[in-house]
């Protein structure tokens, strides 16, 4: 397969290029995408820290030790409902190539997305037909139990006026690298809530790239909770393509040890009357390093856009670091846009109040940190999911430096 390469290959991409064989029994259209993907990755290699979106993440550990593709594991529920199709990526290749092809056709040029296109095996496809509704949250578990790199691809397609809620967890054991690419498309009037809890293994890396396109009056609610993994990056790009589309982006990270966690969001208002509400909370302890980069772009035609972005950071101890970089790019003149950011330590008065009631210092700190993150978790409307998230948060905080 490598015979046709006619450009210089980046050294860190070489092991992946050598491992690339293409899957033997796949259709020709897919083989073409995979080939395109590996070539694009071989040419670009890993993103440089000099590129804006990657400046807060240290990828050297990942770059220096290649983690070759391994099998990913995605656990899906059975859904039998008219107008709803849910299946693994392997099943989708055979049964719903129409959906996958569309997703692959745009956006496989960035380095890790290209690598994902070359190797993706796990992940799932959800297609909800016009007007169909899935009442209960669909729970999906992305597991990992090996080393190597797991390239998962997810496609979520909601047709006009359909509705669904997804609750996805990412967890595992081992020094794996999960390279996850998620494509979400909402038709006119469609409503999707997607709640994600990332709790990867202590030595694991997680690079998640979520791309969303919203049709007219579509509503998208995203919630992400980053609790574990050595190197974790969650990128969310939303294109507000249809008029009157609304999105609500909430999330939080808790980072300790010498781990890194990044949340990167880009909301691109391309049509009039769109609304964005965004709240990101970050907690860093120990030698942890967290970052939030959030851009809201309002294009010239996107009049009457109403966007609000808020980020709050809590730094526990003197060696933890949080970087925040909010950015508004506004090219329309009749818009309401606001952003606010704050960084602080635990409030001494609150701490004393709790201790004056008999609560030991460590527990008091944990209560305050939990309360700080809860404000974001409370935006999740499903009570069961919210309780699960608070429980996961509680067990994460039990081992966080300065809260134990």
């Amino acid at each position: 397969m490598t015979g046709a390469i006619d450009f210089p290959v980046r050294p860190e991409a070489r092991p992946y290029l050598d491992a690339f064989a293409g899957a033997a029994n796949e259709p020709e259209w897919l083989a073409r995408f995979r080939k395109h993907g590996i070539n694009r990755f071989a040419e670009q290699g890993f993103p440089s820290r000099r590129s804006e979106g990657w400046r807060y993440l240290d990828l050297r550990g990942l770059q220096d030790k290649p983690r070759l593709p391994a099998a990913a594991e995605t656990r899906l529920p059975e859904i039998t409902r008219a107008g709803v199709w849910l299946g693994s990526v392997a099943k989708a290749i055979a049964e719903r190539p129409d959906l996958l092809r569309v997703a692959l056709e745009d956006g496989t040029d960035e380095a890790f997305a290209a690598l994902n296109a070359a190797f993706f095996a796990g992940g799932f496809v959800l297609d909800v037909g016009p007007g169909a509704t899935v009442g209960q949250p669909i729970e999906i578990a992305h597991a990992a139990s090996s080393g190597g790199s797991l390239h998962t691809k997810t496609l979520i397609n909601l047709a006009a006026d359909s509705r669904a809620t997804l609750f996805e967890t990412y967890a595992g054991d081992g020094a794996y690298w999960r390279n996850d690419v998620v494509d979400i498309r909402l038709g006119p009037g469609a409503v999707l809530d997607r709640i994600v809890c990332i709790e990867e293994g202590a030595e694991a890396a997680h690079i998640g790239d979520v791309r969303v396109t919203l049709g007219e009056k579509a509503r998208f609610g995203a919630f992400v909770l980053l609790l574990g993994g050595k190197t974790v990056r969650h990128e969310l790009s939303v294109v507000m393509a249809g008029e009157g589309a609304r999105c609500r982006i909430d999330g939080a990270f808790v980072v300790g040890g010498s781990d890194e966690a990044n949340i990167v969001t880009m909301i691109d208002h391309r049509a009039a009357g769109g609304e964005t509400r965004e709240l990101i909370k970050g907690v860093a302890a120990g030698r942890g390093h967290g970052a939030f980069q959030g851009t809201i772009k309002v294009r010239a035609g996107a009049q009457q856009t109403d966007a609000q972005q808020t980020s709050r950071s809590l730094i526990i101890g003197r060696r933890a670091v949080i970087d925040t970089k909010p950015e508004l790019e506004i090219l329309a003149d009749d818009v309401k846009c606001a952003h606010g950011a704050s960084v602080g330590d635990l409030d001494e008065a609150s701490l004393f109040y709790l201790r004056a009631r008999g609560i030991p210092e460590g527990e008091a700190r944990r209560l305050l940190i939990e309360g700080f993150v809860r404000e974001a978790v409370e935006r999740v409307s499903d009570v069961g999911v919210r309780e699960t998230l608070m429980e996961r948060l509680g067990s994460r905080l039990a081992t966080l430096e300065g809260a134990e």
Partner: protein, 249 residues
Amino acid sequence: MLEITNLHVRLNDGREILKGIDLNVGAGEVHAIMGPNGSGKSTLASVLAGREGYTVTEGSATYLGKDLLSLPADERACEGVFLAFQYPVEIPGVNNMYFLRSALNAQRRHRGENELDATQFLRVVRAKLKLLDIGEDLMQRAVNVGFSGGEKKRNEIFQMAMLEPKLAILDETDSGLDIDALRTVAGGVNGLRAADRAIVMITHYQRLLDYIEPDHVHVLQDGRIVQSGDKTLAAELERRGYGAIGDAA
């Protein structure tokens, strides 16, 4: 129960606020400490509860035979010392009920008792809420967030009722209360008077003492107790003002 001897306290910026306090509080007694603004009343309450930012330069405070000042704030609370805050702190994201259960269970652990589960705890809460005319919805909100001034003070006394301290220090519990709220709060405190519990009320005005009758009244001025007496002293203060007392001393 509490013996304070020649207590001198400085702020971390070096200013001396308490300049030799002597005070003995016995079990079952209610003491009122009155004084003008800036006399050191709230500093005394803070130092007894273990707030940071103060340095004891001289003297001692012994509580049930223990050196109170050497204990961290949470241990003091577990040993039965309670401070009703002048300005109860708002803590967003921390549920009132959850907070109070954590506090009660921390104190029970300290005493070697079993922790209460959510159901047992709720039973105790419901019984005590009635005492202070507090709605159960207030318990489901974040600690003091969005509470009115009166609700905050009632919540303090409710916490006192839940935690059943041996020594309760009420710091300006009457400030910011209208007459109805004052009655409710005073009713709550009176209901908590007991032979094995001491109460120290810190107040600027005599008003509170019309509702909670003290056994002893002390006047604090410029970091010293300048006069002590029974409840008639409070009435005299009201009539003649702090200035007159100070001159007499």
